[in-house]
């Protein structure tokens, strides 16, 4: 007997379309508490599969026989077994998520953010399973990609559909939570990989320095990508102003939180830079810039069409990390309450420097779990 399956793509549509969806997550409770499918109108319950081996009575009563239920596990094996048990018990609308949380971690959902000068457009790719955001800027047959994930074929396909060629790959900083696809995609399409030089002191490959004054132009029109040095999350962290309207903040400023300064060095050393960037450098910019960060942590940060963005002026009013006038208080907020570090973050940094080359399966395992790049004030 075969049980019905559902793809990560279909689940992602349910999240961004705010469809009422019930998920039964059968991973062990520690893993569930650490990281789960969230957002939209997702209702998720957890019951480890090994508690259901003798029967599903314990959870059966919480669910309706005609209700749509999506069973989720780590890789798709246990969810299939549990879905079959439900099917045998007379449940009619039960699905197993293909590939489980591992596949969910790799799903990217593109959302159009805006039209740009001269017919260009800006897209945000939301990695719902991990909270990573990457950006695709296209104009006049060319494209630039910012903070690309490891799953480069998704961007390649997207570029193909839009009929544009990816020319510029940009990382706002050396990432510690996910493996960058920037360098490998640059090699594949013959594009240029741009990285802030201060984050690139140990890298083993050639790159173009992402520095102030070194603007990037996408297409023949003038979609300008303007680097702005904004250290704090890493020493090299560089923001980008796109088309004079959009501020890509990398991992410095998020919608409901701010970046953490400890993933590549010592929090104590970089907290001053972080404060200077958030309380001085960004303050000199127009309040009307639309902030587009490289991450989000909470499903509440997802907007109506599943996008993550906010006006800079609004963040100065509302984001808790921007309201701490006292420098000492800011310092202790950022250094005393640091969340656990992301899974395998040191190995991920080494991979992004080109120092180690894990195989594909190892790379997938290294990225499992939430991003944890933020400090919540």
């Amino acid at each position: 007997m075969s049980v019905k399956t559902i793809t990560t793509n279909e689940v992602a549509k349910k999240v961004v379309n705010n469809e009422e969806t019930t998920i039964l997550d059968v991973r062990n409770t520690d893993e569930f508490d650490d990281w789960k499918i969230e957002g939209g109108k997702i209702d998720v319950i957890n019951e480890p599969y090994f508690n259901l081996l003798d029967g599903i009575e314990d959870v059966e009563d919480k669910l309706g026989k005609d209700q749509e239920i999506i069973v989720v596990c780590a890789k798709g094996g246990s969810s299939q077994m549990v879905a079959e048990m439900f099917d045998e018990a007379g449940f009619t609308d039960v699905y197993s998520l293909e590939g489980g949380m591992k596949a969910w971690s790799e799903h990217l959902e593109p959302t159009k953010i805006a039209d740009l000068t001269g017919g260009g457009s800006l897209y945000q790719f939301v990695r719902l399973g991990k909270g990573c955001l990457s950006y695709f800027i296209e104009s006049d047959g060319e494209a630039a990609l910012v903070d690309a994930n490891r799953m480069i074929d998704i961007y390649e396909k997207f570029a193909e559909e839009k009929g544009v060629q990816i020319k510029h790959l940009i990382d706002t900083h050396l990432h510690a939570d996910h493996i960058s696809g920037g360098r490998s995609l640059a090699e594949k399409v013959g594009g240029t990989y741009n990285l802030p030089p201060k984050d690139a002191t140990e890298v083993t490959f050639e790159y173009r320095p992402l520095e102030e004054g070194n603007n990037i132009v996408v297409g023949n029109t003038t979609v300008k990508v303007e680097p702005l040095y904004s250290p704090g999350h890493t020493i090299g962290s560089t923001s980008l102003i796109i088309d004079d309207q959009y501020l890509l903040t990398g991992d410095i400023l998020f919608v409901e939180s701010i970046g953490r300064p400890d993933l590549a060095g010592k929090a104590e050393d970089w907290v001053g830079d972080l404060r200077n960037t958030l309380y001085k450098r960004y303050k000199e910019l127009s309040d009307d810039l639309i902030v587009l960060p490289a991450h989000y942590s909470f499903s509440s940060e997802l907007g109506e069409v599943g996008q993550v963005s906010a006006r800079l002026g609004e963040l100065y009013d509302k984001n808790a990390g921007l309201q701490v006038e006292d420098e000492e208080k800011f310092r202790s907020m950022v250094t005393d309450n640091l969340p656990p570090q992301p899974n395998a973050y040191e190995e991920i940094r080494k991979t992004n420097m080109g120092k180690v080359i894990p195989d594909n399966e190892e790379q997938r395992d290294m990225e499992i779990g939430p991003n944890r790049c933020a400090v919540h004030g």
């Binding site: 062990n28 520690d30 480890p48 599969y49 090994f50 081996l53 780590a74 094996g77 246990s78 395992d365």
Partner: protein, 75 residues
């Protein structure tokens, strides 16, 4: 470490390592020790959580050359 029975669950993907572990432990007497060998990485946290929820005791676990080994004392 001594065991009363060895279960080879190498090469099996989740949920089979736990399904087989559960079956094997049912064949043991209380206080006896089951040794499990597995290669599925997910087994590590799943076996620990399953042992706890079943009231058994995880005496030791090791990882060598990609093989995870567990010694479980039956409750």
């Amino acid at each position: 470490m001594e065991s009363n029975k060895v279960l080879d669950a190498k090469g099996l993907a989740c949920p089979m390592p736990i399904v087989k572990t559960k079956k094997s432990i049912q064949e043991l007497n209380s206080g006896e020790v089951l040794e499990v060998h597995a290669t599925d990485k997910g087994a590590k946290s799943d076996i620990a959580a399953w042992v706890k929820s079943g009231g058994h005791e995880l005496l030791q676990d090791t990882e060598e050359d990609g093989v995870l080994k567990f010694w479980i004392k039956k409750a």
